[in-house]
Symmetry: C2
Subunit: 164 residues, 2 copies
DNA sequence: AGGCTATATGAACGGATGTTCAGAAAAAAG
DNA sequence: CTTTTTTCTGAACATCCGTTCATATAGCCT
């Protein structure tokens, strides 16, 4: 708390005009992040075939997460510091987001364009793969964000068994 | 330290007969984990074509990590608590492991069995995907470890552009 | 200008942390 | 059994942490 206050340019006590305690601050940070993610995702049109929707999801996920490295870092590293009740809320939101992808995968299987025996597991695998970009991507690196999106889209398309 | 001592059944001070300080304890834990991982990996035969070697890597990675959830958890969550010098050592070991996979992918591209424009990125993507199993797998779940291995192998094979 | 509300300070609190160390206890060696 | 070595205890240390609160400051309204 003293560190946060320091970066804001204020004493630690002053923070308690804005949050009842540290746990609430962390929770609101993480819930706002998930709300923002779900809202931004909802803005994307969900029309078209499963293949197009999966490509859109892939590019969206990478871009949204890369643009918010701090939130993403906290969302993953501080999960264990949430009180059980707060943890449950965040996990539910995360589940909602995963269901978005799972729905696309199921539709694609139904369309016959994806070949997956377990869309639920596949959605977790794809999200893990995509979120992994945050651990190595550097804006000044050799790849543009567009390059990265395309590379990952190729891999995701293959992973779900879509034709080349 | 008091918590660790408690689980061992000893007072905190006694731990300092076995480690000079907390940082060394964490570092040794993580280095031993990486050493073990590399050693276990080295024991696997590296003969055969790239496709077989990739399948072996996939199954090996999932199984080795699932059998050591605590070490893996610490290896990921406590990275930021390593002093720079120690961090560099762990990162180098991790790089060694990633290079194993990258080598397989490069060989597969050379053989014409994989279709990847960037084997380095692909290796990171595959490892992220595989390690993700640790976040959801539960031994009493609906899938056996063998099921999981096979599901992921199907996805990995597709992701690297291998023929079905 | 004066009063009111919102916000900030700075010291203090109780408790947790990593670490040290003199002395007790336990184990090994003779 | 006695001595020596290894291991453990229990208290103490300095420092850090989240949080509270009386007091001071700042901004706004009339």
């Amino acid at each position: 708390m003293r560190q946060i206050a320091g970066e804001v340019g204020v004493q630690a006590g002053a923070l308690y005009n804005y949050t009842p305690d540290k746990q609430s601050l962390l929770f609101r940070l993480m819930r706002d992040h998930m709300d923002g993610l779900l809202a931004a995702r909802a803005e994307r049109g969900d029309g078209g075939g499963a293949l197009d929707r999966l490509e859109d999801f892939t590019r969206f996920h990478i871009r949204y997460h890369i643009e918010r490295p701090n939130e993403v870092f906290i969302a993953y590293m501080e999960l264990r510091n949430l009180e059980p009740e707060n943890f449950a809320v965040i996990e539910r939101l995360r589940g909602e987001y995963e269901s978005e992808l799972e729905g696309i995968l199921r539709d694609g299987v139904a369309e016959g364009v994806f070949h997956l025996t377990d869309p639920k597991i596949a959605s977790l695998a794809v999200i893990a793969m995509l979120t992994g970009v945050n651990t190595w991507y550097r804006p000044q690196g050799r790849l543009t964000l567009d390059d990265v999106e395309t590379l990952y889209w190729d891999m995701v398309r293959g992973a779900v068994g879509a034709a080349v």
